[in-house]
């Protein structure tokens, strides 16, 4: 028998903890049963398998040693199965796959992290990595747009990130009685973030409509299109570049993405049903 390949055959991980984040979203914390996968770079993804049901691509929302955290919204058969798992059950994980976020090499660059809805999850490892090396960067702003205050992920993170020297702003589409914060779309928060457009880099994740609007607004404010990175979502069955499902024109997103620069993505995202 050939040696098991973690890119083709899932590696067993045990659910160590499950934390409900919103009514339909939960964090699953996974520990390897025996062998662990190689480390994931922020923005790379795993294929996570629910026994007998199937696997789906999931970005990591945290990685601590061999411990992986995924944020899962129950929207399809596999994600519903994973979302409903309790501590002690076993899942399969393949990876790491794809190209993740690429923080700027130039010291002192201002960073803008813009998240919409569940898009905050794949950005969490990036924010953590950046704040762990805080002196290397200029101003760091994390701008978060969400549907309702109840849909806001990682409220504890927000406090931690502020304490670690990031400006964190949150706006919601639909406030509730208790909400005293901003109401509006996430692009409005750009006015709040301080950054030097010629010396800034941006990282976007959320619905494509939100990322398109944000990227255009950033370009209008002077950011170069190749300094704006976004994480794209398409169907994926293999993660290894063989199944063909994740094509976006010239890109195989499991191989050439999921993180793509706006300069590459813009002409592709403008073609409907590409």
């Amino acid at each position: 028998m050939t040696a098991a390949r973690p890119d083709l055959v899932p590696v067993p991980y045990r659910v160590a903890a499950r934390t409900a984040r919103t009514p339909d979203t939960a964090d699953l914390v996974l520990d390897p049963v025996a062998d662990a996968l190689p480390p994931f770079a922020p923005g790379q993804f795993a294929m996570v398998y629910a026994f007998g049901v199937g696997d789906i691509p999931l970005s990591l929302s945290a990685q601590d040693g061999h411990r992986l955290t995924h944020t899962i919204r129950a929207v399809g058969a596999v994600s519903r199965a994973l979302h409903g798992l309790w501590p002690g059950t076993t899942v399969g994980v393949r990876g790491p796959f794809g190209i993740g976020w690429e923080p700027p090499a130039v010291e002192g660059t201002d960073l803008l992290v813009v998240a919409g809805g569940l898009g905050l999850a794949p950005l969490r490892p990036l924010v953590r990595a950046v704040l762990a090396a805080r002196p290397r960067y200029g101003r760091v702003a994390v701008l978060i747009g969400t549907r309702t205050p109840g849909d806001l992920l990682c409220t504890q993170d927000i406090e931690d990130w502020r304490a670690a020297g990031a400006r964190v702003e949150v706006t919601v589409d639909r406030p509730d009685n208790a909400w005293q914060g901003d109401v509006g779309v996430v692009t409005d928060l750009l006015d709040r973030a301080e950054f030097a457009p010629r010396n800034a880099a941006a990282f976007l994740c959320g619905p494509e409509v939100m990322m398109r609007a944000t990227a255009r607004e950033l370009v209008r404010r002077g950011l170069a299109p190749d300094r704006i990175q976004l994480s794209l979502e398409r169907t994926m069955h293999c993660g290894t570049g063989h199944c063909g499902h994740c094509q976006l024109g010239p890109l195989l997103l499991c191989r050439d993405g999921p993180v793509v620069s706006w300069s590459h993505a813009e002409p592709l995202l403008l073609v409907r049903e590409l």
Binding site: A4, L8, R234, H237, G239, T240, G241, H245, V271, E273
Partner: protein
């Protein structure tokens, strides 16, 4: 292979012996044979199973086997299947998972020993198609090791093309009708006053040793020249052409063309073209469990980009319209394949034209897109 490539002349008895020699070496010999009114690929045990005296009549949406007076075995062009049926099978189990009483489970990779094939009668277009799939499935950062294992064990007997079909355009795609390496043995069939002969060349050490085992006809210096001439003449008799432009750029620049609406009005989105295409590689993962629920399997099966589910996201399909699905197939095949895998995805075999139930012709669509681009593109779209 070291030194000069050995060549020889063999006859039909040598062809029959070739099948026996390959089988004796433990190989499953696959080649063309007549069945159900078509020249199909199947396991061969004897030379008389080859389609001697059979040709094909091809047109868009049309395929008929026709008798040939010359008795040639390889005077037919692409049939309904291609070699991917064997190298990249329609359905394949990738692994099993078994759950114990404690809820933990173990995975075992499927370790069925890969078959050892000999492909007899690989046309140059299909030889190119195998090379294209090699790059897709075994040439990237992740290699499909089951494909690779089958591929590495396969012995390839190429047969050059002297009788192109009405739907062939390998010359436009630079894939034929002559072979250009990548084989263990190459043959060119010549039927003339000198008899029914094959000019054979070895392309590998194993090819040379197989060739040495075959009964040879007397060496005939003129046969190589005759074979070359027949293959060169075939290049000028292609039934179809592609526009002589950069097809990658043509596809990139016509994403909004009106022609996609025209072809979408005819296309049934049945996916036949993707099944018949020798390079289409897309698959879907399929997960099954047994009745106890404690044994699970991961299968991979061919999938078509014409399937609505192919581009499914939680909200629905990305390519909801037939127009976008045909466009995806054609632009991938002729254009974005270069971006992804550094070559065209089309080898000019014409299968997609023949096996389209409504006779959509990829070359005609490419010419129409080229004409529309030359005429300045569609009004309204993009320009507004």
């Amino acid at each position: 292979m070291t030194g000069e490539a050995p060549t020889a002349v063999i006859g039909t008895e040598g062809m029959a012996e070739l099948i026996r020699v390959l089988a004796a070496r433990g190989r499953t010999v696959i080649g063309p044979t007549v069945r159900d009114g078509a020249i199909v690929l199947d396991e061969l045990t004897d030379g008389d199973e080859l389609p001697y005296g059979r040709g094909v009549e091809l047109e868009a949406g049309h395929y008929r086997v026709r008798p040939r007076a010359d008795g040639a075995a390889f005077a037919h062009s692409a049939g309904p299947q291609s070699w991917k049926t064997y190298l990249h099978p329609q359905r394949e189990r990738q692994w099993n998972a078994d759950r114990g009483s404690d809820g933990a489970w173990v995975v075992t990779e499927d370790d069925t020993p890969p078959p050892s094939y000999a492909f007899l009668g690989v046309r140059p277009c299909d030889l190119r198609a195998i090379a294209v799939q090699d790059r897709v499935l075994a040439g990237g950062p992740h290699s499909d090791n089951r494909y690779r294992a089958r591929r590495e064990r396969t012995f390839l007997v190429a047969v050059e093309c002297t009788e192109p079909g009405a739907t062939c355009f390998c010359t436009s795609m630079g894939a034929g009708p002559a072979v250009d390496g990548g084989y263990d043995l190459a043959l060119t069939e010549v039927v003339d006053g000198g008899g029914h002969r094959f000019w054979a060349r070895a392309g590998s050490d194993e090819g040379a040793s197989v060739l040495a085992e075959l009964p040879h006809l007397p060496a005939d210096a003129s046969l190589a020249t005759v074979a070359h001439e027949k293959v060169s003449a075939a290049a000028d008799r292609m039934g179809r052409t592609m526009p002589e432009v950069d097809l990658q750029a043509l596809m990139r620049e016509t994403l909004h063309a009106d022609r996609w609406n025209d072809v979408a009005a005819r296309c049934l989105t049945c996916g036949n073209c993707t099944m018949a295409c020798p390079t289409c590689f897309c698959t879907s993962a399929e997960d099954v469990t047994d009745l106890t629920g404690d044994h699970a399997e991961r299968w991979r099966r061919w999938e078509s980009c014409f399937d609505l589910e192919f581009s499914h996201l939680p909200g629905g399909p990305v390519r909801a319209s037939g127009r976008s699905r045909y466009r995806q197939w054609a632009t991938h095949k002729l254009g974005t394949w270069y971006d992804q895998f550094d070559s065209s995805g089309c080898v000019g075999c014409g299968r997609c034209i023949v096996w389209c139930p409504v006779g959509i012709d990829l070359t005609e669509e490419a010419h129409a897109l080229n004409a529309e681009r030359a005429a300045g593109g569609p009004p309204g779209e993009g320009a507004a």
